[in-house]
């Protein structure tokens, strides 16, 4: 029994490192979500106005919604290519617990998208006239929120990976589930800018993260077993 458990940790690190290596080799997968994030954010001043008061008011929502969409568009990379080349079958058939493998893939996905989005978000915050003292809270909310986006998203991708055109369907399945994270994340940034207490939202974001950490890998594994049949 002990041997199998250490194996499960090995399986996690193997999959995690494999997916990181693959992401490094397909540069576009790393760069595209970031570029998308930057472009969408820069559309807002063009569509609204360059007035810094106006930008300041919409900044939390703009940053959060753009990060959410960028994550959503990158979700397919969790399972799509593995499905197409047959690796996913092999992973499902491995004797390791599937949730562990799925968790490794989600963790790698977050490191290559959500984490990077979080890291460049202060620069975009500045471009939307956010005061520097509020950039910290923006980082914190994204740091707590984007892993949840990857976790919940993995369920959606697992459900649609067998379909030839899963893209728009994936958005329809996943976006409603993202709403609580958007609400707490964006409002925390907004309230911090009004000098209000935001610990509550951060706790709620952390609670959502904990909940999805425990449930999402299992749900995604169950979904994979169904769609791979």
């Amino acid at each position: 029994m002990e041997a199998i458990q250490t194996n499960a940790i090995d399986a996690f690190t193997t999959i995690f490192r494999r997916d990181l290596k693959l992401a490094m080799r397909r540069r576009s997968e790393l760069v595209n979500p970031l570029a998308f994030f930057v472009i969408v954010v820069s559309l807002f001043p063009l569509g609204l106005s360059a007035d810094s008061n106006m930008l300041l008011r919409v900044a939390p929502a703009v940053l959060w919604i753009s990060a959410l969409l960028a994550t959503m568009l990158s979700l397919e990379s969790i399972f799509r290519s593995d499905y197409e080349d047959g690796s996913l079958e092999q992973l499902v058939l491995s004797h390791h617990p599937l949730p562990v493998i799925v968790f490794g893939k989600i963790a790698a996905h977050w490191c290559t998208t959500g984490l990077l989005l979080t890291l460049i978000s202060p620069a975009l915050g500045i471009s939307l006239a956010m005061p520097t003292e509020n950039l910290g809270i923006l980082l914190w909310t994204l740091l707590l929120g984007t892993p949840t986006l990857s976790l919940i998203g993995s369920i959606g991708v697992a459900l649609t990976v067998g379909l030839r055109r899963g893209g728009i369907l994936l958005a329809l399945l996943i976006l409603p589930l993202y709403i609580p994270i958007l609400i707490f994340g964006a409002s925390a940034v907004d309230m911090a800018m009004h000098k209000l207490e935001v610990a509550g939202q951060l706790y709620l974001l952390a609670a959502l993260l904990a909940l999805s950490l425990t449930l999402a890998p299992f749900a995604a594994s169950a979904a994979l077993r169904v769609t791979l049949e």
Partner: protein
């Protein structure tokens, strides 16, 4: 007990028993709806603040309740189908989705009709209406996923899994939207939380709720029967049944 459930859950038994029940249930539904509408539209007094316009509540409130109830039933049936591998449960779950979505849509439309005289606008981002809108998205997701697969078994289980994920999220979404609403708009005048609702209004409301629930059961039975006939069209008993009718 399980034996009994499996027996009833066999398509053939279900078809036989539901066929006997349907006419009775349908008549009862119609009767209760007429009573409810009569009591609600003609007997109940006008509201001292909202006048006659509040009467849409007798449709709006039951539909809103049904939208949540049906979602729960759908997820529950899907879970039963996944755990005990009961075909019929999957059929029930997937046929609940469009009915639930219709109730949700009805709740949204009546809510906006009701909102017009109250708020002066067809749509206000009120917490209840917003939650209802998101619930409609959840229903549409389940239906779209079900429609996307060619293989019926895969479709049932994939969409069922999504319904289960959704049902975990419904309370989270609901409370986050409530919280968001108080944050941005301050507490709005709540429509139902009046200190006490007068008995002459409560009775038609309850009658309508029972009628809506029965209506759901009747439509669900009918849809399930059609699907069973379609699924089992190659088996002997269906051929016998079709020859008789």
């Amino acid at each position: 007990m399980m034996k009994f459930i499996h027996r009833f859950a066999s398509p053939r038994e279900f078809f036989r028993i539901s066929g006997r029940l349907l006419p009775w249930l349908a008549s009862l539904t119609l009767l209760l709806m007429l009573i409810g509408l009569y009591l609600g539209l003609l007997v109940a007094p006008p509201d001292y603040q909202q006048g006659e316009s509040y009467r849409i509540m007798f449709i709006h409130v039951p539909s809103a309740w049904m939208s949540l109830f049906v979602y729960t039933v759908m997820a529950g049936a899907a879970a039963i189908g996944m755990i005990w591998r009961i075909k019929l449960a999957h059929v029930v779950a997937m046929n609940s989705a469009p009915i639930g979505a219709s109730f949700t849509f009805l709740a949204l439309v009546t809510g906006s009709l009701w909102g017009k005289p109250m708020w002066g606008a067809w749509w206000v981002w009120d917490a209840r209406l917003t939650s209802e809108l998101i619930l409609l998205f959840l229903y549409l997701g389940v239906m779209a996923l079900y429609a996307a697969f060619e293989d019926r078994r895969t479709a049932q289980r994939a969409a069922g899994l999504l319904a289960i994920v959704g049902v975990v999220n419904v309370p989270i979404i609901h409370y986050s939207v409530m919280w968001w609403n108080t944050l941005h708009q301050g507490p709005t005048v709540s429509k139902l939380d009046a200190p006490s609702i007068h008995l002459s209004m409560l009775v038609p409301l309850l009658v309508m709720t029972v009628a809506f629930t029965l209506f759901y059961v009747v439509v669900l039975l009918m849809r399930t029967r059609w699907e069973i006939i379609d699924q089992e069209r190659r088996s002997n008993w269906v051929e016998e049944f079709l020859e008789q009718t």
